[in-house]
Symmetry: C3
Subunit: 271 residues, 3 copies
């Protein structure tokens, strides 16, 4: 494998040496690897955030890249560490469900192995940093061409993250804010396709107590400071304050309810 | 092109998947690329910050590197996306003026093309994420050796950012805080060369209501906590609190006025 | 040297162009280098933080990688810049002691040279940014195979950082919080080996006025919100709030005293 790619996604932040230690371990095993940082700013232990992140990032990568994910509230407990092949994408991560939405999006049948072979690990294995001691060295060995079948036995069940699902009434969809990006944009679990049936109706978009003043195609169409709703780059309904931070100015958090109301008659506009 | 370099500068932050998605798109087109992060911490939509950043970073890079810049308040509106060649440096960015100071600093005549060929883009193109859907794939193709002439027609006019200019009186220069770095140092638009005529005079340096207690050559010359003025690494006058954060402790922001007063007589010191 | 590795550790943050400028300078000298970011979030001028960081990161890297460290409160003063070889690890950094713990951990005799040859530097050298003007170009030249003996004369003395040392009484160890990671975990200067003599006794762990409710092997063993003590991944005693941020919720900072009390009789539990 010439110049293999290993990506890193963690909740470690960047002030501490944890990410650096993982990079060192990988490069000591395979000095030819190119390491690509995806993020080290997943909020601590936030599996839902990681789940949304991975679904929005991994599908774009070339087949064969190795993706190491360390958001691991259960480190040191009985949870397994997994090697996952998913439509050609290769993941190394704890068995905590943070790849649930990714799996649904890719749609392929995952091949899952439990990491059980200490000979590919760094010794001694600490109780609190399996990213450095198990996942990073395993990624290094895989990048050298190690047959994944040697990592451990296949596993046929794994944790899935339960995410709140939107519900649809006759003239109303109820959903939730799922993800807040660094701009403060509020990404919901209501997909573009759920709105298609109402394409000829007037719609009202509400997040918490706030009503979007306009539905737009892109942020730049409205005036700075306006709360708008739009379909974002993941084909999900989102709310944004133009040139502002919706999460901060509206005090909205992940979990805030979202409503879409449809006008009864396509020709009438909701007041 | 063996091992080409693509750099990324964005205002995306690192908690969301936007940067990771761009990296994936680039590597899927050209798996041999080395991606170099310049910053993903440009303040949201802050074109002036991006302008100062690029002028302080791009000139140091080797000719031929491809620099992708996504600070794009106008995404989805009629603004163009550009390919710019500037003294051998190659940029892909929105037409919003964020390379104005860089162009002045490099001093070469830019060759500018408007990106107009959807065959080099990711389809479908979203309304809100042209970094992923247009700029990243275009960078990937360029890194494979694509002739830039195929990207689109040359464009002979482009937006320029208006930056406040310092003004000089007989015994006074009036300027502005242009940029605040992560240390809280206050970088102004008054250049070293503007002070040269007064090299034999005593000078007083004022930012907002605060007077620098000393002019120094480097931070370490003064005592911790002192407000000093000095010529920084971009040959611009700056203010700093030694081992402290001037922006925070003095409550100074970008746009705060700056004054330099010259003593009338070189032999006299201003009180 | 094919595809050499240069790592960067700085306190520059990521909003300003300083890191980017260093990357450009390195790549302009050697376009084949792979640059690996270790951290740009060392707290400003915090040498103790850098010292702990480097000790936790550098030992994992392959021999031969070049590590550039810019935490440099004395930039522009008389402090030297050093090239250090330490058990095969190669460092370029200011002479300010930030590699003291690393040297103790590696245990090898360092070979130290003072950077004194301006021909390997960027000209003109600024007074405030030796990372860009001296360390980065020196790293670039070294990565091309430059003989380190040409960088400058050997230096036989260098600054060492004085770190607080834990003290041991008959039934009590007194230490200090040395480092707080991005999770808010409180890492102390009390090592696992100091506790070994008391392996059969009941112990009480105290940080400031707070007593750990349990000693655990890993965070996931206790309930969310509990303050626990454990041996972390650097074999040091640490305190953590499970799924929380101990530093924030307990208002603990670096320097807060830590105590371990041993029960007199192994069979009795301290109340």
């Amino acid at each position: 494998v010439p110049n293999p790619i290993i990506t890193l996604t963690t909740d470690f932040g960047e002030a501490s040496h944890y990410v650096a230690a993982m990079k060192g371990v990988i490069l000591a095993i395979n000095p030819a690897v190119r390491i690509v940082d995806l993020s080290h700013r997943i909020p601590p232990q936030d599996l839902r955030h990681a789940d949304h992140f991975l679904a929005g990032a991994i599908p774009y990568f070339p087949i064969g890249a190795i993706h190491v994910v360390v958001v691991d509230p259960g480190v040191g407990t009985e949870r397994s560490l997994l090697y996952v092949e998913l439509g050609g994408h290769r993941l190394l991560l704890p068995d905590n469900g943070c790849w649930t939405t990714l799996a649904a999006k890719v749609g392929a049948t995952p091949l899952v192995r439990q990491l059980s072979e200490p000979r590919f690990w760094r010794q001694p294995v600490s109780n609190t940093f399996h990213g450095r001691d198990i996942l990073a060295p395993t990624a290094g060995h895989l990048s050298l061409g190690l047959d994944p079948a040697l990592l451990g036995p296949t596993q046929t069940a794994w944790l899935k993250l339960e995410q709140p699902r939107p519900s649809r009434g006759e003239l109303e969809i109820t959903g939730t804010v799922m993800f807040i990006d660094d701009f403060g944009n509020l990404v919901t679990n209501i997909s573009e396709s759920m709105l298609e049936a109402w394409s000829d109706r007037s719609l009202e978009f509400r997040v918490g107590d706030h009503v979007a003043s306009r539905r737009v195609l892109s942020y730049g169409e409205a005036q700075p400071g306006q709360l708008v709703s739009l379909i974002g780059s993941s084909q999900l309904l989102e709310f944004a304050v133009v040139n502002g931070n919706a999460a901060r100015s509206l005090q909205v958090t992940v979990g805030t309810p979202v409503k879409v109301f449809a006008g009864q008659d396509p020709s009438k506009r909701i007041s």
